[in-house]
Amino acid sequence: MAEETKTEPKQKTSSAKSTESAKKIRYIVKRMYQKAQQAKEQNLKVAYCMVMCNYEEILEALDVVQVYTENYAGLCAVKREAEQYMKKAQAEGYSDVLCGYAQVGIGFDAWRHELGGAMPPDAPDGGMPEPDVLLGCSMGCDPRWKWYQALGRYKDTPIYNMEVLMPPSDADFDAIKDYYVRYMAEELRGLIAFLEKQTGKKMDYDRLTAIVKQVEETRQWWRKAYDLRRALPCPMSTQDHFVIFVPHHMLLTDPITLDFYKGLYDELKGRVDNKIGVIDDERYRLLWGVGIPPWHSMYILDYFQEFGAVFAAETAYMIPEPFEMPANVKDPVELIALRAFERNSAMQRRGKEAGSIPPLAQAHLERIRDFSIDGVVMHITRSCRAATMGQILTRQVIRDHYPRMPVMFMESDIVDLETYSEAESKNQIDTFMEMVGTYKKSSR
């Protein structure tokens, strides 16, 4: 199969990075997969996971090694090695418009199953180790838990799928808070019971509390660093952001992560103080709107720089909202549940207060205001409904508030290279940047 479908990397697919911090990520990612592959030798359990499920601290406290399968698919796409796994999934009967990440992940594990449990040959970064548990979650999109259920075709790995709630935009947040938090806490307790059984370990709640606190500190540093991007010129671009989120999203509880974001802050502070921008002559500031980027061709973002444009902010892979830990909540499980509710309803609350602005659009309006944005680029991804549906609504709301602000829809996919046309994208960008130029001139 490898010979038939494998696509050799044709070119460098990554984008240019402006910070030293971003340049460290490749090493961090390689180390992450190496550690995961060595976990079995150390008698540690490996979990297939999804990012931002609020269970990272629990896994760390029970010494469960985390492997983020969506992001492994992204890595395969960056290396242009995704196609072989997608083809395998499609041969297994899965639709070619199913979530691209799920196609890669299912194809990978179907192939491993076919090989009697052996790692698919030449898997990027050594491949994902065989998991001991599968931990899906309902937040974000349906494939984030449904995918692991589908893996039941290939393995008998125990599953715990967990609800993580995202309140509706117009909810009465005070009225729902109690039962939303209660449900979330019960889901987390169910996860702990499941993992205690699978690992044979007992949860150390003091350790869990300490990890929760450390995670909050990590987030504060990332947020402080992120806010420095409001500066003119912008010290760091979206190209950097799309790798800099990795420690937070996949190594949240790793001791290196806190230091990484402190280091990022120091670096960006130095750049801001010395007025070092992403490019020498920053003329336009763009927002990468909702939409997971085209991992297979990230360098296309650099093309905007030829027009003097910098992506100063984005609404994908966002930093979680700030959370003040209430002193009266001692149980770390309650704390995580409360944090999930407060975070997942923050944008809804602000949107509601601002006059029934849908939360996704509210996130864009805030970034446009805070980061002095001149134009918005969104990415319509063929295989990702969750990150795509609502983009037209978001554009409409942006136009309600900034009637002439240019908004561009780039169309391709998160993983599937066949949907991508470089020439078409560049043509679109040429036109878009003309509009941004006109907009900027007229708004002076």
């Binding site: 297994e92 009967g93 899965y94 639709s95 418009v97 199913l98 979530c99 799920a102 899906g136 309902s138 999109c141 349906d142 494939p143 838990w145 449904k146 995918w147 259920q149 589908a150 039941g152 075709r153 008998d156 599953i159 799928n161 967990m162 609800e163 709630l165 995202m166 309140p167 509706p168 935009s169 117009d170 909810a171 009465d172 009225a175 729902i176 039962y179 939303y180 209660r182 449900y183 019960e186 889901e187 169910g190 029934s356 849908p358 939360p359 996704l360 319509i380 991804t381 063929r382 295989s383 409904r385 969750a386 795509t388 549906m389 609502g390 983009q391 037209i392 609504l393 409409q396 709301v397």
Partner: protein, 381 residues
């Protein structure tokens, strides 16, 4: 406005063909009609408050002319079609919309619907994806919230007694539908898949009291039919939203009998009763979270998860299964291959069809359906 026949299957067919007519007529007389999506909305809440629940549907084969301005091209085509009708004014008779958070498309549709259509009343009902004990407790609270919101909207409240009465009406309707489905067990079945589709759509678009009267007539009418002697392949159709009879007609005109279904608009919609013995709301939560759509996580391997399908196949003596999915439906697409394995493990052939709904390829499926039926015929011989 279309004039609808008074009785039995002819009335059901006319209600199917002019599905909005009765609700519109009632709305014109001042009755509140609330539109809802999916099999997960507890319609008893509306009935208890003297509101007509109307299941929002699309229109197979009708190009979504306006939806493209509002919805991305990769959005579930069923959702696009529904929104297209709504933005075109065909659902203007609705006083509100309840859109349950059942799948990604429904979840995101809520803000879009609200922003552009500005319904006087709207509610996004969070239906848990999981089925843990805490999920049921959470869902009860959500249903209570829905009830409170609708009560405020109409300015009156529903007592426990009102709810129990509504549950009883809907359970009666479910019992009548199951009776009708029993008549499909015969060889050949006494009612076709297309006729069943008409009845089901009538049930989703008319007040429950009227539908129950209609069902009594339909069951009696079908029961009195003289069975024919032709023995055609017996099929079960499993899938999501089928709110149009063209697929059933295609299959039946190709020489098969559709004897059972596992559809959001079919058995999934009515199969289970509500047990109000622990209270109306707990009964509703338990019943509606029990709906077997792939959007809800049920633990276990395929044989356990799809055992209900195996029971349908055995009891209705199905000889083949059509798996029908709508393009871009991730939850169904992620289940379909395993479902296919399971059905094949029972010794039945499976035909997998992926629909685009708006520009439906149903007409192009004839050859595939005929070839599938030949496979079944060969096995029968």
């Amino acid at each position: 406005m279309a004039k609808i026949a008074q009785r039995g299957l002819i009335r059901a067919r006319e209600l199917y063909e002019h599905r909005e007519a009765r609700a519109q007529e009632l709305a014109n007389k001042g009755k509140k009609v609330i539109g809802y999506f999916c099999s997960y909305t507890p319609v008893e809440i509306f009935t208890a408050l003297d509101i007509v629940p109307y299941r929002i549907q699309g229109k197979v084969g009708k190009p979504a002319e306006k939806a493209g301005q509002y919805l991305e091209s990769i959005v579930c085509p069923f959702v696009r079609s529904c929104f297209d009708l709504a933005i075109g004014g065909e659902y203007n008779f609705l006083s509100g919309a309840v859109i349950p958070h059942t799948c990604d498309a429904m979840h995101r549709l809520y803000d879009i619907w609200k922003y552009h259509l500005k319904p006087p009343y709207s509610y996004s009902l969070y239906v848990p994806h999981m089925t843990h004990q805490a999920s049921y407790e959470f869902f009860q609270k959500e249903i209570e919230n829905l009830k409170t919101g609708v009560e405020q909207f109409v300015g009156r409240s529903a007592s426990e007694k009102d709810l129990i009465r509504a549950i009883s009406l809907h359970n009666h309707s479910r019992a009548l539908l199951r009776k009708l489905y029993e008549l499909r067990k015969q060889e050949p079945p006494l009612i076709s898949g297309s006729e069943v589709m008409w009845v089901l759509i009538a049930g989703m678009t008319t007040p429950i009291q009227e539908f129950n009267e209609l069902m009594e007539e339909v069951v009696a009418e079908v029961r009195n039919r003289k069975p024919s002697h032709d023995t055609k392949p017996r099929l079960l159709i499993s899938g999501s939203e089928v709110d149009d009879d063209s697929l059933m007609r295609l299959v039946e005109e190709s020489g098969a009998n559709v004897v059972m279904d596992d559809l959001c608009t079919g058995s999934r919609f009515f199969w289970q009763d509500v047990d109000p013995s622990k209270g109306a709301i707990p009964g509703l939560a338990e019943r509606y979270l029990g709906v077997t759509c792939p959007r809800t996580y049920r633990p276990g391997k395929a044989a356990q998860r799809f055992s209900y399908l195996g029971d349908f196949i055995r009891e209705w003596k199905a000889q083949g299964v059509i798996l029908y999915t709508i393009r871009f439906c991730d939850t169904y697409q992620l289940d379909a291959p395993e479902m296919k394995d399971y059905i094949q493990s029972l010794g039945l052939p499976v035909l997998f069809l992926e629909d685009t709904y708006v520009t439906s390829p149903i007409g192009q499926w004839k050859t595939r359906v005929e070839a599938f039926l030949e496979t079944i015929e060969a096995r029968r011989e």
